[in-house]
């Protein structure tokens, strides 16, 4: 069968991703174990009696060996039972789901800004290579790569929220009345994320496109008498997209960390800030659930990117 090598390649990636997730789950469990302080002690407070502590430990299963507790936690997680928050006394699953929905909205908005922006800037700078427009874009890209996202976010807040008063300084998504309101509230954090991602993507798009523009097939397309637009969009762009998809995957992967930072900048009630807050109050089930979820997303993104790159490559697709 022609597609057999392709399927095998894909299967290898899926197995590897699953294996990664398993290893990471061990790391997460182990890190959470190491969080200072004892869970039962934290729950009952300083002046708990030793008897009460022992009872609670037995109740929570904390007296069993770590390997056994890991197994139980993993099994429960796989069944969708994320347990009960120790601090807020509410089911972790509901809490995390609500926060994750907020985060996905923000991430989706950021990507919706980033993808057209990166494509347009990359195409423009390659098409006008060496001219003032290209140089302006290159400088902007260089600056975008040198300024970390928390600084970008704070500068945007300072200019657009505080000085110009165009957008709210804090992204309190729960106050949104309608879609317009939502986009208004989310605009600054989404833009912050998009700027950081765009800088890297434009750089790579430009380099790839310039390489493709010098290829014999683009030369021949030009010498066939095709309009410049058609040469750029039909012959050059599709062949520069493979690596661009890769950068986008790297960017989405980065986004999973970047969102933790940007949510903190804008006090956004998302999953990233939940992780930071949960670590600082040692809310073990929440930390475990959120860390595992973010890691799974990260691995899934990388896996999808691999698959897209494989599928986009005409040589691999045909199983040649």
């Amino acid at each position: 069968m022609r597609s057999a090598p392709l399927l095998r390649l894909l299967a290898t990636r899926v197995v590897l991703a699953a294996l990664s997730l398993l290893v990471v789950s061990v790391v997460i469990f182990w890190c959470v174990e190491m969080l200072p302080g004892d869970t039962a002690q934290r729950m009952l407070g300083r002046d708990a009696t030793p008897e009460a502590l022992a009872r609670l430990r037995a109740e929570l299963g904390l007296d069993r060996p770590a390997a056994e507790r890991y197994g139980l936690w993993l099994a429960a997680t796989l069944w969708g039972d994320l347990g009960q928050s120790m601090v807020a006394d509410r089911p972790v699953a509901d809490w995390v789901a609500g926060r994750a929905a907020n985060t996905l909205t923000l991430a989706g908005f950021a990507l919706a800004i980033y993808i057209p922006l990166a494509l347009a800037l990359g195409l423009l700078s390659a098409a006008f290579r060496g001219r003032p427009l290209d140089q302006a874009i290159s400088v902007a890209v260089l600056l975008g790569m040198c300024v970390p996202e928390f600084v970008t976010g704070l500068l945007l807040v300072s200019v657009f929220a505080i000085t110009l008063d165009l957008f709210p300084p804090l992204a309190l998504i729960d106050q949104a009345q309608d879609l317009g309101d939502l986009l208004h509230i989310l605009f600054l954090p989404a833009l912050t994320l998009a700027i950081a991602m765009t800088a890297y993507a434009v750089r790579m798009m430009r380099d790839n496109l310039i390489e493709v523009l010098e290829s014999p097939y683009v030369r021949l397309a030009t010498l066939k008498g095709l309009p410049r637009r058609q040469v750029l969009l039909r012959h050059a762009l599709p062949n520069a997209l493979g690596p661009a998809v890769n950068v986008t995957a790297l960017n989405i992967a980065w986004l999973i960390g970047g969102i933790v930072v940007v949510e903190t900048v804008f006090n956004f009630p998302g999953i990233g800030r939940l992780l930071i807050d949960a670590i600082s109050v040692k809310d073990v089930p929440v930390v475990q659930a959120v860390a595992l979820l973010l890691t799974a997303l990260y691995i899934l993104t990388n896996l999808l990117a691999d698959i897209v790159v494989i599928v986009l490559n005409p040589r691999l697709r045909a199983g040649a």
Binding site: M145, V151, L154, S158, V247, G257
Partner: protein, 300 residues
């Protein structure tokens, strides 16, 4: 087009020639102006990091060195923060901590990564297979999430930050160095060394290492830029250097609470950080040009 390549006289970016030791003067001559500017900025940063504590006008922790949130002036070059601490002195004092943490973390990562990459690229076979799968798994861990967890578990200390960042970066370096090694391992001069009966270690050190040095240098330069931003983000989230250290990410986090009243407590450390990353980026690009290697896939 072919004719252009045929006729053009040798241009200024020769491919990394096998084991050709380039004198410093020649490297400097090949370095584009932007790279030289980057290097000059780095020298200034290093000088500030090393000597700053002796000439900074104020003690970085001195509260009420001036009125709180006072704007930049002759007395307080970068203004003061909400506690009236002198921001310029804090930024100057922080330079050492920032550079020490990021450079030593990157140094460790590059050292370990290069060694692993060199050995696996040379040996290939099942060892390579296993080590690279392990590296794949380590790379598939989201860096910031794991860093925050580990630092949460082991406490904020410069050592923990350095070690975790090194651990996260090392497999990425190993991949790049391994790819570079695979590219040269089939070259004739390596085969010749094998036929001469040189030991594996001898080949790795004498034949392979000199020819991946360029890759290793560029890798170090790229990664240190990322390390500064990464450690800055950790500091900003409260997982960086412990509080008395005037680390820039920590300062930015402190400054953001009063951002509606004053921008400079954020701006001063932010500019210092952006300048340092810019210097590294410019220098990296220049270095890559000298070595004849593209700076490689830029990832955060």
């Amino acid at each position: 087009m072919a004719a252009a390549a045929e006729h053009a006289p040798p241009t200024a970016a020769p491919a990394a020639a096998p084991a050709r030791r380039r004198p410093m003067a020649e490297a400097w001559a090949l370095m584009p102006a932007s790279g030289r500017v980057g290097l000059a900025m780095l020298v200034v940063y290093a000088a500030v990091a090393l000597t700053g504590p002796w000439w900074a006008p104020f003690d970085p922790g001195k509260i009420a060195a001036g009125p709180p949130l006072s704007p930049p002036s002759a007395r307080h070059l970068a203004g003061t923060d909400a506690l009236g601490r002198d921001l310029f002195s804090r930024v100057v004092h922080g330079t050492g901590a920032v550079m020490w943490m990021s450079l030593s973390a990157t140094g460790l990562a590059v050292l370990a990564g290069s060694l692993v990459g060199l050995v696996t690229g040379y040996l290939r076979g099942w060892i390579d297979e296993i080590v690279m799968r392990l590296a794949d798994i380590m790379i598939s861990i989201p860096p910031l999430i794991i860093a925050v967890l580990v630092i949460g578990a082991f406490g904020n200390s410069q050592t923990v930050v350095i070690l975790i960042v090194a651990l996260l970066f090392a497999p990425r370096v190993a991949r790049v160095v391994r790819a570079a090694t695979l590219g040269i391992v089939t070259e004739d001069y390596v085969t010749a060394a094998v036929l001469r009966g040189e030991s594996a270690l001898g080949i790795a050190v004498r034949e392979l290492l000199p020819n991946v040095t360029g890759t290793v240098f560029v890798e170090f330069a790229i990664r240190s830029g990322f390390a500064i931003m990464f450690i800055g983000a950790l500091g900003f989230l409260g997982f960086g250097a412990p509080p008395p250290t005037p680390e820039w990410g920590v300062m930015i986090n402190e400054g953001r609470r009063t951002i509606s009243a004053a921008l400079w407590p954020v701006l001063a450390p932010a500019l210092a950080m952006a300048g340092l990353v810019l210097a590294i980026n410019l220098f990296t690009e220049g270095l890559a040009r000298v070595i004849g290697r593209s700076p490689g896939p830029a990832t955060h």
